[in-house]
Each structure stands twice: as C-alpha cells, then as structure tokens.
C-alpha cells in the first residue's frame, strides 16, 4: 500500500474526530465559551453553528475525494459570508481553513511522529493552502458585495428623490 493511500485511510477513519476538532477550533474564534454555537443543533435557531458544521464536512470530503471546485466554493461561501460580517479582521475571517491543519496534526499526532505519512501530509496540506486562497477570493467578493449594496441603496434614494421632486423616474418601466 502506498503512503498516499495510507494517509487517505487515516483521514477517512478519523473523519468524525478530525471534523469535531476542526469545528471546536473554529468556535474558539468566537468570544465567550461559544457553548450555544457548539451545542444547539436546530438549523434555524443556530444558523451560524449549523452552517459551519455542515459546510466543513463538505469541504473535508471535497479535499479527500477531490470534488469539483464549484462545490467547494459554495461551501466556503456559506461560511465566509457569515464571517465577513462578524467582528473579525480579514485574516481572522478566513483563518478557519488553516485550523484544519491543526486538527489533522493533532489527530494524527502518533502517525506523524512515527514518520509514516509526513511527506504525504505536506501534499495534503498544500490542498488546504489552495482552499485558503479560494477563501480569500470569496472573502473579497463578500466585502465587495456589501459595498455594492450600499451603492445601490444610494442610487435607489436618488430615484426616490426624483419622484418627490416631480420628475418621474422610469426605472420600473417596461422596455418598449
């Protein structure tokens, strides 16, 4: 069996514990003990915790199975869209991707020390780095989205002001 397969087997076997560790590490970025974010399972009562727990699983599977990047982008977007408006600096907002490295290193501590998988793990971590680059793009997109919304609001106010001044706007007219 080659080293790549061995690593993949480890990552598959320990999927649940790695994901749990990754999730808890992400939750550490929130103030307080984040018990609510960690424990409440209802997707509507706790959309932040629910979204993060669901999407990191998709991301993890994606890295393992090599799924299409658009699926990864959707999952990343769902998490980063939240963190882009929370009280985080840009680096803090996307830091959750790198926390997967720590989760894996902690869970595979014994195997790494035995020197079985170090080289393959470095390759896998490169994939995580690529995910982080995608995360940065998405973070920027979310922030641009916020500013676009603000600009659009200003434009809409101009339309309203025109209406008040008696200069009817045709913004809603059907094209003839």
């Amino acid at each position: 069996m080659d080293w790549a397969t061995i690593l993949r087997n480890f990552l598959c076997q320990k999927k649940a514990s790695i994901l749990e560790r990754w999730f808890n590490l992400i939750m550490e970025s929130y103030p307080g003990d984040s018990l609510f974010l960690k424990q409440e399972k209802d997707r509507f009562a706790n959309p932040v915790g629910y979204t993060i727990s669901q999407e990191i699983e998709t991301l993890y599977e994606g890295l393992l199975q090599g799924v299409a990047s658009d699926k990864l982008i959707t999952s990343l977007d769902n998490i980063i869209r939240i963190r882009a408006v929370q009280d985080f600096s840009p680096s803090q907002a996307v830091s959750f991707v790198f926390r997967l490295k720590q989760a894996i290193r902690d869970e595979l501590d014994k195997e790494i020390h035995e020197g079985q998988i170090s080289k393959e793990l470095l390759k896998f971590e490169s994939k995580i780095d690529e995910l982080a680059l995608l995360a940065f793009d998405i973070y920027m997109k979310c922030r641009e989205n916020i500013y676009e919304i603000r600009v659009n609001k200003l434009k809409a106010e101009v339309v309203g002001a025109l209406k008040l001044s008696g200069k009817k706007s045709n913004a809603y007219q059907v094209k003839k």
Partner: protein, 540 residues
C-alpha cells in the same frame, strides 16, 4: 505601532485566532467602522431642544461628555426607577436563567455574548446595583456591581444600538421581562448625554417640523400623490380620486412616509389608493399627519409623544370619524400600546365601523384606529372585492411577520388571509421563525442606517436563513411583509444572503389582484413588469 511599521514577524504575532478572554465587566468596546452609527449634528438637537448637542463620533477617544455626565445618568436612572415600575422590576427580578440568551437575532448572528439579552441588560443592571442596591454598594464586583465609567457609557452605546427592540427575547422570559424596555431606558439615558444617533434624530426633527420623516412640505406631498395617480392611470386606465386635508371625510388615512417615497413601498401605496377607489371609501390624507412612523420612539418617550400628537390633532381638525393606518411596524406598536396614554383619550372620534361591510372593529374601541390589513381582510371575507390572484403568479410568496405587528399587536392571520386570497403560491417559513417567534429584519428601532450595514447583516442573518430555506425548497422569490422598515431593509439583507428574493408589501399584491370596475386589460403589475403570459419577445 502602526501596521505599516510592522515587519513580517511582528505581523505574524498580530494574527490571533482567539479573542482575548476577559471578564465581561472589564471589556472595552472597539468602534470599528461599519459597526457603529453616526451621530446627529448639533443643529438637529438644538431644533428639538434636546440636551448636550456637540460634534463627536463614537470612534473618537474623547466623547466630550458634559462635565456632570455621571450625575445626569444617575439622576436619570433614579427618576426612571421611580416613574416606571416595570424598569425597577425588570432590573430586580431576573434570575439569569438564560431562557432569553439564545433568542436574540444579534447574538445568534454574531456569537457575541453581550448580545444575549440577559447580558446586555447586565450592562445596565451592574450600574444599578452599584448605586441603587445595598448589596452592590457593600460588595461591589462580588455582587455583580460596577462603577459607572466613560467606558461603560461607550459600551451601552455599542450594545443598546445593536438591540432592535424586537422583543423576541421577551416571548421566552419566564418572568415576562421585556428587555426592549431596558433598551428604551438605556437609550433615554444615553440621549440625556447627547449620545444619540443621526438616523433617529434627523427624521424626528423633520417630523416635528413638517409632519413626516422625509421633511416633505404639503405641496411636495401633493406632488407625490399626483405621481401615484398617474402611475395607477397608466396601469389600469382609471383615474383615482385622492383628497388631502378634506374636512368631514369619514376616515383619516395615515401611512408611514416611506410608503410614498421609497421602493418597494411605493407599490403598496398604489395598492391602497386603488383599493379605496374601488370600494368608494370616503377618506382623506392629512399633509401634516403625513407620517405614521415615529422615530421619536427610538429616542425617548417624551419625543415619541411629541411626534405622535399630530395624529389625533389632525383627526380632530378634519372632523373625521375614525383613523385607518397603513402597513408599518413600530407605528403600530406606538398606536396600539402608547398613543392612548400619550395623547388620548380620543373621545371626539367614533368607534370604527367599516362603511362597506358594517363590521365593528371592537379591538379599536379605545384608540379608534384600524389596521389596513384588518380592514382589507374584512372586505375579502365579506366578498366585497373581485380578485384575480393569477396576476401575482410570477411570485412564489412567503410572509415575514414584522416584530411589532406580531409581538406588540398580535396580527398574524389577517395578512396571511389576504395573501392567500390574492396569490396562488404561498409558503410558510419554519414554525420557529414566524408569528410570535419571528426573527427581526435586523434593522428596526432606528439602526437601519447605511453606515451600520455590517451589524444589520449579522442581526438579520437568522431571518435570511429561514428565507433561504423556503427559497431552496419551494423556489420562493418574494418576501411579503407589512412594515415600512422591513421593506427598506430586507432588500439589502436578501441581496447579501439570498439573492433572487424580492420584497413587497401585502397591499401591492392586493393592488395587482384587484379587478377594478372599468379598468383596461392589465398587461403589467404595479412595478410595470409584464404579467405572466404578457411578456413580449424583448422582455427578460
């Protein structure tokens, strides 16, 4: 050290995954751009006769508080504790059970513990303990008491303007503590130091002067009405009659000013006018009571009362029998729960009776003011309207219960009844996100300013999350609501979280479906968008 002066190693040291763990009593607030509201210019405070006007910003270190600021706060607290029994009670009886903790949309969206209603209240309660309770005076921190410092004032400003007074927490409190009232008190105290918000004070000043938040004078209001009449004529071929300041009309109709200014409110406004024309309602607008909303309510009880006074005054001057009110949230909280005490009794008005159906609105016996959804639902129930719901077929609709309409007024069924009669496709969001448990838009109570968008997007996330669910499950593309602030702030919220879902008032949908006598064949809806089946080749 400035960021530019840092080397790579120092930069790495500044990256910390974990927030600093400190006692909640000690933390100071960082006012990062995008997370605080701008302050009003002194001329507005002067105009309204409000205290301590000055030029300042929350991000500045020195807030230029008046010299005796501590005395102002403590005397203000003492005054309110003696005046409002609920205030004293709410500060004393909380047992910190935590039932409210995870119910606040701002806590759910941010994860910041100080947005838990219980802890937000502790920010004020800790000061109350220190200066007004024996245990707090004797044992200080041990008894959960803390000194009133400038940092505490700053923290109040930060967190009490992250509460939208939506009152979702109060639904779950076993003692019935209404944290909204704590926020109201805290904001009154802040405003007594001149620490207010421009987005609240500016419309309040305009409203005080000209009767509406826009500052629109009577001739401007007339111009807007003319535009609406023209829009309706273009869509239906019918010229509706609208009267302004007409004495002796049966009904005075009051709407939030956003209805005749903003989008998508405008289409709801057209819907009202079409409906009244069709049923032949004898009504008038007042160019002074041209605002149902009341931003004074987000400032202080005193300012709310001043702005509210015009409503009964105009009803009296115009000698109407009763008042009908449009789609608005906080407007109805004020009318339903405060107006009678502020400026009543309205003994010069009659108990409202629908002139079309004869229905007596007994629930409005005291205030003499009826909600447009009650009025329209009653018309539909009595089969007084001819409706063609297929004109709304391009919409798959869900309904957002506005906080004030549900938790303050208890109006759940009427808007749903109307929607089900004027639309063919209606889908509810999950049970724990609607009716009494509805999630806030994240922008109510005067915090819907543009500069505050990030915080609003956080607070509105739980609502948007439920919309996203019905969007993915049923293909919902329209969020209907009956609140002017919702109509203004849900579109940006959805653009960020659930693109592809638009926002509309319930009476826009009524206007679309309403078959008017003598109308020309409709080819567009009230947004001038082609009706389903009427799309031309060039239309997208």
């Amino acid at each position: 050290m400035s960021a530019e002066a840092l080397g790579p190693k120092e930069v790495l040291k500044t990256i910390d995954y974990k927030p600093v763990k400190r006692s909640w009593l000690e933390l100071t607030v960082e006012f990062r751009k995008g997370t605080y509201l701008y302050t009003p210019p002194r001329k507005l405070l002067d105009y309204l006769g409000l205290p301590n006007p000055r030029k300042w910003l929350p991000s500045e270190k020195d807030w230029q508080l008046p010299e005796n600021w501590r005395q102002i706060i403590l005397e203000g607290m003492k005054d309110r504790l003696s005046k409002y029994r609920s205030f004293q009670l709410f500060l004393d009886i909380c047992v910190r059970c935590g039932a409210c903790a995870d119910k606040c949309p701002f806590f759910i969206g941010s994860g910041d513990p100080k947005n838990m209603p219980v802890l937000r209240t502790e920010l004020l309660r800790s000061v109350y303990r220190k200066y007004f309770t024996t245990s707090g005076k004797l044992f200080g921190k041990l008894a959960g008491a803390r000194e009133l410092t400038e940092d505490v004032v700053k923290e109040w400003f930060y967190y009490f303007y992250q509460c939208t007074e939506c009152r979702r927490c109060s639904v779950f409190c076993v003692y019935g503590i209404d944290t909204c009232e704590i926020t109201m008190m805290a904001r009154e105290l802040l405003n007594s130091l001149g620490c207010g918000v421009n987005w609240i004070v500016d419309p309040a000043a305009k409203c005080y002067r000209l009767g509406n938040h826009l500052g629109l004078p009577p001739h401007g209001f007339k111009g807007v009405i003319d535009t609406a009449i023209e829009d309706i004529r273009e869509i239906t071929g019918i010229k509706v009659e609208v009267s302004l300041n007409r004495k002796g009309a049966e009904v005075l109709f009051v709407v939030p000013s956003a209805d005749y200014f903003a989008s998508p409110h405008w289409f709801t406004f057209l819907g009202y006018l079409m409906l009244f024309h069709e049923i032949g309602l004898d009504y008038t607008f007042s160019t002074y009571a041209s605002e149902g909303g009341n931003f004074g309510f987000f400032h202080s009880a005193e300012l709310a009362k001043r702005l509210n006074a015009k409503m009964y005054a105009e009803a009296k001057r115009l000698k109407v029998k009763w008042i009908l009110g449009g789609e608005c949230g906080h407007m109805w909280r004020v009318l339903h729960q405060y107006m009678d005490t502020y400026n009543g009794p309205a003994d010069f008005l009659e108990e409202p009776v629908s002139p079309i159906t004869g229905t007596k609105f007994e629930n409005a016996k005291s205030t003499k003011m009826v909600h447009i959804c009650e009025f329209t639902a009653d018309l539909i129930y009595h089969n007084k309207l001819k409706l063609e719901p297929s004109r709304n077929d391009r919409w798959k609709v869900t309904f957002h219960d506005s906080c004030n309409m549900t938790r303050a007024v208890g109006l759940f069924e009427e808007p749903r009844y109307i929607i089900k009669n004027v639309c063919n496709y209606f889908y509810e969001m999950p049970e724990n996100t609607i009716k009494e448990r509805t999630f806030c838009c994240g922008s109510g109570s005067g915090i819907g300013a543009d500069e505050h968008l990030e915080v609003r997007l956080r607070g509105g996330f739980p609502r948007a999350n439920a919309v996203k669910y019905v969007r993915e499950r049923y293909g919902v593309n329209l969020l209907a609501c009956i609140c002017a602030i919702d109509k203004a702030t849900l579109p940006p919220l959805l653009q960020y979280w659930v693109p592809g879902v638009e926002v509309a008032g319930v009476h826009e949908l009524v206007g679309n479906a309403l078959v008017m006598k003598g109308e020309k064949p409709r080819v567009t809806d009230l947004r001038f968008q082609p009706l389903k089946g009427e799309e031309g080749e060039g239309d997208v």
